[in-house]
Symmetry: C2
Subunit: 329 residues, 2 copies
C-alpha cells in the first residue's frame, strides 16, 4: 500500500572494485542519505550482498517514517541490463551472479541493474554536466575504467547490454597483464592501480630524485602521486603525462567512433584536476583526425562527491518505473 | 510536374578514393542502371563533379522515358550530413567542398550526402546482410577504411555527422604515416595500399621465396597478394595474417564500445574471402573481453558487386524524402 503522506524514493547502489556506495534518492535527484561499505573484492557475491542489504535496510530504517521506497537501481561492473546479471567482473571474484534475483528476495520491488558507468551517465544526463546533451560519453576512472554512452538522448546498451567497455579496449596488445586475462587493456594504464604501476615503472628507469621512492608499493596512492606532481616531482609529473597520453589516444579513438558533444571524466583519478584534464585534452586533440580536432569538450563531473553514481543508479530505476508506468509520480 | 506513367527513381553516388560508382535505384532497392568513372583523386572537386554530372545525365537520358528522377543521395569520404560538405578527405585533393551546392545547381531536387560507409550501412540494412538488425556496424575496406554504425535501428551520425571514422582510429601511435597527416591509423594497415605496404615490409625482412618479388610496387594489388596466398605463398599468407590481426584487434575495440549484433565487412579487400574473414574473426575474438567473445557475427556484404554503396546512397535519399514527406510513394 502506497502511503500518500510519504515521499517516494529509490535506492541507488554503485558497486565499485574497492568500495560500494548506496543511498536513497528522490525524483528530483536529491540524495536523502547515503553510506559506503568496502566491497571486499575477494568475498563471494552472496556474502557481499548480505552485508549490502543489511546496511541498506539499516539506513532505510532511519528515514522510513518520511519516505517510501519504490524501486532499486544498481550500477555494477560487467552488469547485463537485459539479464539482470553481473558476468565475471575482472576486479571481483563473483563469477556470474544473478543480482536481480538476490535483491528481489529482500526487496519486493522493481529492480534494475546496469554497468556502473551507465548509471553515472544517467546521473550526469539528468542532474549533472551532461544536462541537455544528446550525444556524450562518460568515462569512469577508478579501480577500473568504464564508459557509458548516450546516443540521441538515450543510454546505449548495445546488443547484449555490454556497450561502452572502454577500459577493455586495447592500448598495447603486448602490454601490461589485465585482470580480465588479456594484455594491454586501457584499464591497466589509467586506473588507480595503473597509475601506480606507471610510477613504479618510471622510478625503475630514472636517475631523478623523487619523493615517490619513500613509499612502499602497497602505500602508494594516486593521491600521493598527484600531490607530488603539484610539487613538481619529476617522476610524478612524468607519471601523469604518460597516463594522460594513453588516455588521450584512446579517447581520440572513442571520439572517432562516436563523435560525441562532450566526454565527461568521472571518478577518483579526476581529483587530480588540471594535471590530468589539460594534458589529456592536449593528447586527445593531437591524436584526433583533423575534422574532429577541438570539437569535443572534456568536462569534469557535474555532481559532487561521487554522488552521481548513486544518484544515477537511483535515477535509472526512476526511468524504468516511468517506462513501465508502474507508478504515478 | 510528376509523370504518373513513370516509376520514381533516385540517383545514388558512391565516391571512393579510386573510383566513383553511380546508378539509378528504385524504391525497392533495384539498381536500374549504373556506371563507374575514375575519381582521379588529384583533380580539384569542381572538375570531378563536372565529369560526374555529365556522365550521370548521359546515363539518365537512356532511361528517362520510363523513369522519373526525384532525388540524389551521395556517399563520400569525410562527408558532413548536417552541412552537406565534404571536409578535407585524406585521399582526395578537394579541401572542403560544399557538394550539396554543386549538385543542386544541376539537379533541382532534394540532395543528401553522408559518409560513404554510412551509405553502405543503409543499403545493407534495407536490402542486404543487416536486414532486421537494430545494432550493427558496417566496415568498408577499400582505398580507405570507414565504418557506418546503426544504433537502435537508425544510422548514427554523432554530434557533427562524423561518427564511425574507424579507419582513423590509431593502431600504433608511432606507426605508418597516414594521408590524414598522423601516424599509425588503421587505414594505413588494412586498406588496399596498406596491404601492399605490409607485403613489401614482409618481403624486405624475409628469406622465403615469394612470387610477390616478381611485381613492381606500382603493379602489386591486393588481388595478386590474395591469389598468391591461396597458392600458399608464405609471404602472401603472412601478409593476410598480419592484416587480419590488426583488423581483428581494432574490431575488438569497436565491439567493446558498440556491442553490435554483427559486423559486416564490405569493399574490395573482402573478395579475399576466408583468408581474411576467418583470420579476422579469430583475432577479433582473441582480443575481445570474455563477456563479448563469440557473440558478434562477422559477415560479408549481402549485396552483390559493390551495389550496396550505390543502392545505399539511393536509399539514403529515399529515407530522407519520406522523412520530409515531400513525395508520396
Amino acid at each position: 500500500m502506497k502511503n500518500h503522506t510519504k515521499t517516494n524514493i529509490t535506492l541507488g547502489i554503485d558497486i565499485g572494485g574497492t568500495n560500494t556506495a548506496f543511498g536513497y534518492v528522490d525524483k528530483k535527484g536529491n540524495l536523502i542519505t547515503s553510506s559506503t561499505i568496502p566491497t571486499n573484492p575477494a568475498d563471494p557475491a552472496n556474502k557481499f550482498f548480505k552485508r549490502l542489504i543489511s546496511e541498506s535496510e539499516l539506513l532505510l530504517s532511519k528515514i522510513e517514517n518520511n519516505y517510501n521506497l519504490i524501486g532499486v537501481g544498481i550500477g555494477a561492473p560487467n552488469a547485463n541490463y537485459f539479464k539482470g546479471t553481473v558476468e565475471r567482473p575482472p576486479n571481483l571474484k563473483w563469477g556470474t551472479t544473478n543480482v536481480l534475483e538476490i535483491i528481489k528476495k529482500h526487496f519486493s520491488l522493481p529492480v534494475v541493474i546496469t554497468n556502473d558507468a551507465n548509471a553515472v551517465a544517467i546521473g550526469e544526463f539528468l542532474y549533472g554536466a551532461a544536462k541537455g546533451m544528446k550525444n556524450f560519453v562518460i568515462v569512469t576512472l577508478g579501480t577500473g575504467v568504464g564508459s557509458g554512452i548516450f546516443v540521441n538522448g538515450e543510454l546505449y546498451y548495445g546488443k547484449d547490454g555490454f556497450a561502452g567497455e572502454l577500459g577493455h579496449t586495447i592500448y598495447d596488445p603486448d602490454g601490461r597483464v589485465c585482470g580480465c586475462g588479456r594484455k594491454g587493456c586501457l584499464e591497466t594504464y589509467v586506473s588507480a592501480a595503473g597509475i601506480k604501476k606507471t610510477a613504479y615503472e618510471l622510478l625503475s628507469n630514472s636517475t631523478e630524485k623523487s619523493e615517490l621512492t619513500e613509499y612502499k608499493y602497497e602505500d602508494l596512492t594516486p593521491k600521493i602521486i598527484c600531490e607530488a606532481a603539484y610539487r613538481k616531482d619529476k617522476v610524478a609529473l612524468k607519471t601523469f603525462d604518460f597516463t594522460s597520453k594513453i588516455l588521450g589516444i584512446k579517447l581520440a579513438d572513442l571520439v572517432a567512433i562516436t563523435n560525441p558533444e562532450a566526454i565527461i571524466l568521472f571518478g577518483g583519478l579526476t581529483s587530480a584536476g588540471d594535471i590530468l584534464f589539460k594534458a589529456t585534452e592536449k593528447y586527445m586533440n593531437m591524436y584526433l583526425l583533423n575534422i574532429l580536432k577541438n570539437k569535443v569538450k572534456l568536462l569534469p563531473s557535474g555532481l559532487t562527491g561521487g554522488a552521481s553514481a548513486i544518484v544515477g543508479a537511483g535515477a535509472l530505476i526512476w526511468t524504468e518505473l516511468e517506462k513501465l508506468k508502474k507508478v504515478s509520480v
